[in-house]
Amino acid sequence: MALNVKLEAFEGPLDLLLHLIEKNQINIYDIPISELTDQYLSYLEGLEELDINLASEFLLMAATLLSIKSRMLLPSIKSNEVQQEECAVIDEEDPRSELVERLIEYKKYKKIAMILKEKEEYESRIFKRKPEDLSFLYDDLCLPEVSFDDLISIFTDIIRKKDMRENVNAKTILKEPFPLFKRIEQVYDIVVNMKKVNFKDFFSRSATKSELIITFLAILELIKLNKVKVFQDQPFGDITIVLREEA
């Protein structure tokens, strides 16, 4: 048997069992437990290395299978006439019945998961509209009540809110927030205006990760373009960015 599939390809021992059942076209209500157990075990043996965390669940199932198999081997108390029918019918006595129930239930949810996947894919192809800022309906912006400190706290607030919002899925189209070339211009303008800027001042804590990366790339690009130069007075000291006077 070719064992080129990895354990990670399966969502768990039940998934692996279902795979073996389907592959061998086994009737789930009448599982040849000994055969299935052998296949299951040889599958686990075929794996070159076992991730212990992942494998423990698979090993537990192996133990269950072996236990069922051994119980199946015990001589039946029942008479010979009934035994024949027993193969096709699952009753309380059948050691396999609990496993079969679990497999059938798991299979049901596996199927629903596939439908959910289709739904998810469909949803990824449709778009909502960006909600309208409706505050203009009550236009009474009242400046006298607002101080500069208010603006600062409002600003830090929304940046924080934005970070939280970005964690949630949104299918609204928002334009690329920070194109690199734009950030290059901004960083350059700031250096031009201020002549000398502390490197770390460019990295506000409130900025998103992508903004930080873009800013960093922008600074690197400006250094490469010979527009700015950076120096550090002492090891581990602050890095300062200054304008490189054009030749």
Binding site: E57, Y106, A113, I115, K119, I126, P131, I173
Partner: protein
Amino acid sequence: MEKERVKGILEGILFAAGDPVFLDDLANALEISKEEILDIINDMKQEYNSTNRGIMISEVGRKIRLTTKPDVYPYIEKLFKPQIRSQLSRAALETLAIIMFKQPITKAEIESIRGVNVEKTLNSLLEKNLICEVGRMETPGRPILYGTTQYCLEYFGLSSIEELANLKLNEQGD
């Protein structure tokens, strides 16, 4: 109010809102019953079906929304290069499927169905706001009970979990 006028107002409201709007809120704003609104929305669904329309109306949970039709996607993609959101893993989908149909449900129950540890998966679903804690079971240890959120229905574009159950049954029919 005239039915055609209601359609126009509904379209305008949903357009401006962007996000799905609660059926109850629409009924209040228009001062007509929810049944009437649902009836009109069914009419609108037919009308949006027409080739010359690029948007459609649908129910997600107890909310109504307007979205683009999927067949416009290639053009939107061409023009805006929208970010593709990351899709849920199979483990997440299976766990969600179980919670949807068995809620409220504990972690232990989910694990006994899936046969694997679901701790990490649950945390990631909680973070994504697809599930939430809906209470505690009154048994020793008082384990947390999980359920799906309204956002979960919106995420999959489902009007209800029953819709999903029906879909599943139909599939099994053939």
